[in-house]
Amino acid sequence: MDLYRIVVREMGGYKGALILAPPRINQKKTMFVTGNDIVAIAKIVAGVRYQSYYPITPAADESVLLERYSFIEDENIGPLLVFQTEDEIAAITSAIGASLTGARSSTSTSGPGFDLMVEGLSWAGMNEAPVVITYYQRGGPSTGQPTRGSQSDLFNAIFAGHGEFARVVLSSGDHLEAFYDTILAFNLAEEFQVPVIHLLDKFLANSTATVSLPRLDEIEISRGEIVREAKEYKRFSLASLVSPRAFLGTRGVVMWYTGDEHDEYGHIVEDPENRIAMYSKRIEKMSLIKDRVPSEQKIGIYGDRNPDYVFVGWGSVKNTVLEAIDVLRGRGIRAKYLNIKMLWPFPEREFVEAAGNVPADRMIVVEHSYGANIAKLIEMNTGISIEKSIVKFTGRPLTLKEVIEGFELIESGKEKKVVCRYGA
């Protein structure tokens, strides 16, 4: 409020030209954070104990902040090892190593770094090792536009890696979502023993926002079934889709891990029957993950219940589209926004339900990419083919005006795909 008074007094000389309305925040306390900040804070709450990283924009600030909170004895925080590795290959592989000892482990990176991590990701899939990769997208390909934003790595996050295995890919529409999704990422990784990719972007990472305080009493830390002692332990027991996990170092328990196809003990075998059982087990966990995650954490639904149009997107286009829906409402156009939060396994049932009776030619994808790739993901999973899109790939953030103008061009039938260009 003091700041407001100072600004208004300074603006006195420009009367009539500029107006600043008084702040209206109906909360006693708020947080003022960047996306990197809120993810780091969430990781502390989630109990991360090992974070590796190789310096890269726009991910490195998260690790630097984590280091500040790596040990607070009085509050039972830590010790959290924030470890700068020699490259991203060591970042992912050392994080997996740490996770095998029972430490909640993660690494943060951007597209080029993620590309180097892919063989490690595949090892984590093969060995059912929980690990969280926080992936802040920036403009590619190659070095691309390293200090600008992008949402062009959707398929990279979902499909990178040889062979087939279960993984989870989550996205967040704003800072507060990113907080809760970070904690969900660790829970899913451990409950289902899968790698989890939290797919964010540079827009979120580096923009500051005033957000309400997260509600800590709503947070649960779930680690899945943990074995503390066993007579004859089988790390990859076929008795259930998710084998109870013992940590390296557990007294009385010995186990083997290998990137080769393996038996229940973790030893290399080529037997075809075992191959079918193990390979299927690793993939079929996906169905359990779908059942476990509540609908509202898969897709956020905003706007009119019986809309004329449905906007579809994920990640940081959310707030711009929500504002656009408000503007359109003022013009008598009813619109809805579907914020896809769980990108993989794709929530096809929830998507079909949320889309309701609106035909695909009244659906519009909004994405920071060339390909409006979420439309392809939706088609692959539901058969619904969305042809209309508002896209932007200059690395500059999407503006409200662009969404409105894009909508007008699409509604009038002049364009199917609108490429936005604003921003110097």
């Binding site: 050392s94 740490a98 010995v254 186990m255």
Partner: protein, 313 residues
């Protein structure tokens, strides 16, 4: 979890006469004599013939990616510093694709043992030249003589900062065993270059060749690789390098350089995280009955720098 027999019932599928058998025997005997607990020991390997070794040892085994055994092992050791961590890999694995990690471990001086199965070839892919095969050598699986030069693993380990640097020979089990034992007990990054014949693909560096060419540094009573005062470090390293340069007809095996005065990575971390390594990532509490250790009250205290009290006009 005491044990005198560290064999598993997994079939050892190396070629008959492979140098890996000698190294496996050396490991069995070192583990036995040190009475290492299988549940508190982790054998980490990369990819290659030698990297199958964890499956043959009754102790925790992590068989990882080509070249990446060291970073996997680093994560394991950092998160649970109470574990004994031993890395195995071939020359292609540790010094070719994994060379960057090999150097990084030396810089850190983390308490891990690295055992190099050094046979000069990529055996698993049928004998291509590795980074330790000298220029101009033509093994039977090469179409033309090697046009890339070898580098010297002992020199590299010394330059990178390993604080225990030694060489042994696969079929001198007693020598190898005693060096492995000493490396495990050494605090800091330990490197053992184990000369190993590949009976199938390397017909130049054979068991016969090594039997004639290796000699033990220890046989020279004046040889003292141990840094006994910190100020001796440079002189001892220079002498170690001089020995390391001896290659060809006479190859020294034994301890080249042992320096206990360099801080370990664990000690450096404990300067930052006071309770480490006693309290560490693998044994610290993160939840109590499903609730995070951070609650609403201490959340606001811990993250006060990010929290603003707002005033309404």
């Amino acid at each position: 979890m005491e044990r005198r027999n560290y064999r598993t019932n997994v079939w050892v599928d190396w070629c008959p006469g492979c140098g890996n058998f000698g190294i496996l025997t050396g490991i069995y005997r070192a583990l036995e004599e040190l009475s290492l607990d299988p549940d508190r020991t982790v054998i980490v390997s990369g990819i290659g013939c030698s990297s199958k070794i964890p499956h043959f040892v009754y102790a925790n085994g992590v068989h990882t990616l080509h070249g990446r055994a060291i970073p996997f092992a680093t994560g394991i050791k950092l998160a649970n510093p109470e574990l004994t961590v031993i890395v195995h890999g071939g020359d292609g694995d540790l010094l070719g694709i994994g060379a960057g990690h090999f150097v990084a471990l030396g810089r850190r001086n983390l308490d891990i043992v690295v055992i190099l199965h050094n046979n000069g070839v990529y055996g698993l892919t049928k004998g291509q030249a590795s980074p330790t095969l000298p220029l101009g050598v033509k093994t039977k699986s090469l179409v033309e003589p090697n046009i890339q030069n070898a580098f010297n693993p002992i020199m590299l380990a010394l330059a990178a900062g390993y604080t225990f640097v030694a060489r042994s020979y696969a079929f001198d089990t007693n020598h190898l065993k005693s060096i492995i034992k000493e490396a495990v007990l050494h605090k800091g990054a330990a490197f053992i270059d184990v000369l190993q014949p590949c009976v199938t693909f390397n017909d130049v560096y054979t068991a016969d060749f090594y039997r004639k060419s290796v000699y033990k540094l220890e046989d020279d009573k004046a040889w003292d690789p141990y840094v006994r005062k910190p100020e001796e470090a440079q002189e001892k390293m220079l002498r170690a390098m001089e020995k390391a340069l001896q290659q060809g007809e006479k190859i020294p095996i034994g301890r080249f350089y042992v320096n206990p005065f360099v801080s370990t990575f664990e000690e450096r971390i404990s300067q930052r995280l006071k309770a480490y390594p006693g309290l560490n990532p693998s044994n610290s509490v993160i939840e109590v009955q499903g609730e995070p250790v951070v609650n609403q009250k201490n959340f606001e205290k811990i993250f006060r720098d990010f929290i603003i009290e707002t005033q309404t006009p």
